[in-house]
Amino acid sequence: MANHDIDITVSRGTVHALVGENGAGKSTLMKILYGMQKPDEGTISVDGEQVSFGSPGDAINRGIGMVHQHFMLADYLTVLENVVLGSEKLHGIGDRARAKIKEISDAYGLGIRPDAVVEDLGVADRQRVEILKVLYRGARTLILDEPTAVLVPQEVDALFDNLRELKAEGLTVIFISHKLGEVLSVADEITVIRRGTTVGTADPANTTSKQLAELMVGSELPSPETRESTVTDIPMLTVEDLRLTATDPDGVVRAVLDGITFTIHKGEVLGIAGVEGNGQSELVDAIMGMRTLDTGALTLDGADISRVATRKRREDGMAVIPEDRHRHGLLLDAPLWENRMLGHVTEKPNSKGAFLDLKAARADTERIVREYDVRTPGIEVTAASLSGGNQQKLIVGREMSHNPKLLIAAHPTRGVDVGAQAQIWDQIREARHEGLAVLLISADLDELIGLSDTLRVMYRGRLVADADPATVTPEELGSAMTGAAAGHLEAPGATGSDDAGADSSETDPRDGGEDR
């Protein structure tokens, strides 16, 4: 059961936050509120009147608009086309609509050009288009689903300013999140959801993030914290002056990787922070061998792998947890044991010579399922029937099973439930302890700060800053990630001035670090 006994009251003209863990039931609740799903029991009332939504159209008619976490935009169409789609009757699809969009954009400071093609817009801009979409349809209540998941701290501030302006005009905002620090800074009221039910409300003025966290999770929080250093001085992966350019269809040459150099030692986790689209995916592809570099040298455990094929690199000990597991890590319609072979089909126990060893592969899959706690009734089911967390655990187990020397973990806990996330962090830490070198690329600043031994920031294809994970704050990282800071990031001199009762020495992973 996804939701049961949910009681929420939202007052008009406020920003109301719904907090809960990944998997707490927020998505289902939001689908019901937006009309994409019908509740089995219970009622929804808007302005005192009971309503029932059969489709998103009904919710829109009632003035409820949803801003999705994964943007629902057609890349090849313009902003205007995306906004008017489905509501062409309101202001037509021509100049009247264009004027209306400009009007709304100016009123709330969204800064949107109607004739821009969505493909050309950055993430924050696309989110504003989504907000404009609902405002265009006359929404008086906005539901934002994890709006800050893809934003850096500075963009988050800009978004919150927009939300405050909306509130000033009398609109209501419901804001779903799991980032407590942010929630505390912008919400007027907070409702906490845990395991599918509401467990309490909180007044942000009188609550600390620690209290909120306890309400949310109800038990000891797993943390990505690490204690002793396991870094050795034996280099495992060295990357020297990687350069990669790409030519746009227009003929403009862009530097995708602009002189990347770093070394990862055995037992070290190198974390790279950065907004998506600054070259991280390309860096991973280059190290894996899926892209040819213009210049640059790569060595793995002393051997030059700059020209070696991907398969050989993997055989030589390069393990990969890909950023998009559905596209690069799994065969969704194939059984688990075939997925176990993926990426390592030439290695034992998957094959003997040119032939597959199905029996051994199956047996080893069973082992992985046991050791890595992959929740599945068996190994013949398809990968698609597993949850995200279990899929990821299978991938981790598979990659760790071939004596890896280097692990490339790209967003390893994205879309993974809390329990699996903790397990994966444990596995990475354990492997590190055994001497594995890890390249960690993530957008989750807590994960990066918690797991890394060394921290770098990537911006526009360059490593522009480095930081000490023990002392750096997310704001500093955020500045560097958006190009506003560079070099060695130092923590500010005076600390602890703004703590509202929370103990800053315990880096709580639930905490966005922004105690107010």
């Binding site: 993997r314 690069h328 890590g329 040119a354 597959l356 929740r375 013949e380």
Partner: protein, 371 residues
């Protein structure tokens, strides 16, 4: 786990059976609507189709169709649509026939040469489409169809007097020089008519197909590319090379399609060499779901339908009704497979959910007990 398999097997058979039943229903409707009596037609078909000389016919035709189905299926497993099997097999058979007619080596040497020529020509013709796809991004659907027509033109040009063809004694048809007796493939001396020996090659080909795809690393890589090109690339497969390689293999298999006719039946290539077998191959591969046994059954079914409807011509019906039956079967079977697949997926997901919940309940029970 075994339960999953049995259910999957049942579902797998249900779909084509359903399709065949629907096809016969539709055919009955069509016949009735055009004033013919459907059930006696079916009676004639089944009666004639199962006679012993029909069985031989079906096996012989089936050999050719089976090879066609395999050739297409190789492409399908790679998510490639090799519609060009038709042009590939005709071009291959033509050049193989021309070569065979020109040489007079001992059979043990000449027969493999003929077969090899056919496979190479077929592979190359398919390879053109593969290379175009990989280098220029040309859809293989369109390019292979264009190549089919170009192949027809090439054969048309070369199958003329003075080039590679010559007029037979009766002066009625132009064909390639017949291959010498020593190069005729062996036959099984069954009564009343012999079964072509090439059926052995077809069976071997089917086994090779199954083994390569299911039990070798190369086959695993091939299937991976067919399922998800991005995952295959990340796992170290050179996707472009695999595309070209599989088109080559598919074309080589296509080259074999004309061999039963050439080596066991006509011994030459002329204007009445069977055409359109490429499309039969597509239909059969779809029907047999790219599975070597399924394709074999499909090939036999197609042969049976042809034989049965051929007899109908003499009983006042039109043998072209076979096209209707076949067409409806293909359309129904692809729909049925999709329905079955979705149903199977849903079942699996709910089962997985249920089993996990049951496991969790058991675990918590145990905890309570031990606590």
């Amino acid at each position: 786990m075994k339960k999953f398999d049995k259910e999957r097997l049942l579902l797998g058979i249900a779909a084509p059976l359903l399709a065949i039943v629907v096809a016969f229903l539709v055919t009955a409707l069509v016949l009735a609507a055009t004033g013919k009596e459907p059930f006696s037609a079916f009676g004639i078909m089944f009666d004639y189709g199962l006679k012993s000389d029909s069985q031989v016919y079906i096996l012989n035709k089936g050999t050719t169709y089976y090879l066609a189905g395999l050739a297409v299926a190789i492409g399908f497993r790679m998510n490639l649509f090799n519609i060009g099997v038709d042009g590939q097999y005709r071009l291959a058979a033509f050049f193989a026939a021309a070569l065979g007619g020109a040489l007079t080596l001992p059979g043990a040497l000449q027969i493999p040469m003929i077969i090899l020529t056919a496979m190479i020509v077929g592979a190359m013709w398919a390879g053109i489409a593969g290379v175009l796809k990989v280098t220029r991004g040309v859809s293989e659907v369109v390019s292979t169809i264009m190549l089919n027509s170009i192949a027809t033109a090439i054969i048309g040009y070369l199958l003329q007097q003075g080039r590679l063809g010559h007029l037979d004694e009766a002066g009625t048809k132009i064909s390639t020089t017949p291959i010498p007796e020593s190069s005729h493939f062996f036959e099984f001396p069954t009564t009343p008519t012999p079964v072509w020996g090439f059926i052995v090659v077809a069976v071997v080909a089917g086994f090779a197909y199954w083994f390569t795809l299911g039990r070798t690393r190369f086959g695993f890589d091939l299937r991976t590319v067919g399922q998800s090109g991005s995952a295959a690339e990340a796992s170290g497969v050179d996707v472009k090379k695999m595309v070209v390689t599989s088109m080559l293999i598919s074309g080589a298999m296509a080259g074999l399609i004309g061999m039963p006719t050439l080596l066991n039946d006509s011994y030459e290539y002329s204007g009445d060499f069977p055409v359109g077998i490429g499309f039969t191959g597509i239909a059969i591969a779809l029907l047999g779901r790219n599975h070597p046994v399924g394709i074999a059954l499909g090939a036999l079914l197609w042969g049976f339908l042809e034989r049965g409807t051929g007899k109908l011509e003499f009983e006042g019906y039109d043998k072209e009704i076979v096209g209707v039956i076949q067409g409806v079967i293909v359309l129904c079977v692809v729909i049925a497979y999709e329905v079955v697949r979705r149903y199977g997926l849903k079942r699996q997901q709910s089962r997985v959910g249920a089993e996990l919940a049951a496991k969790a309940a058991r675990n918590s029970d145990q905890q309570e007990v031990s606590a």
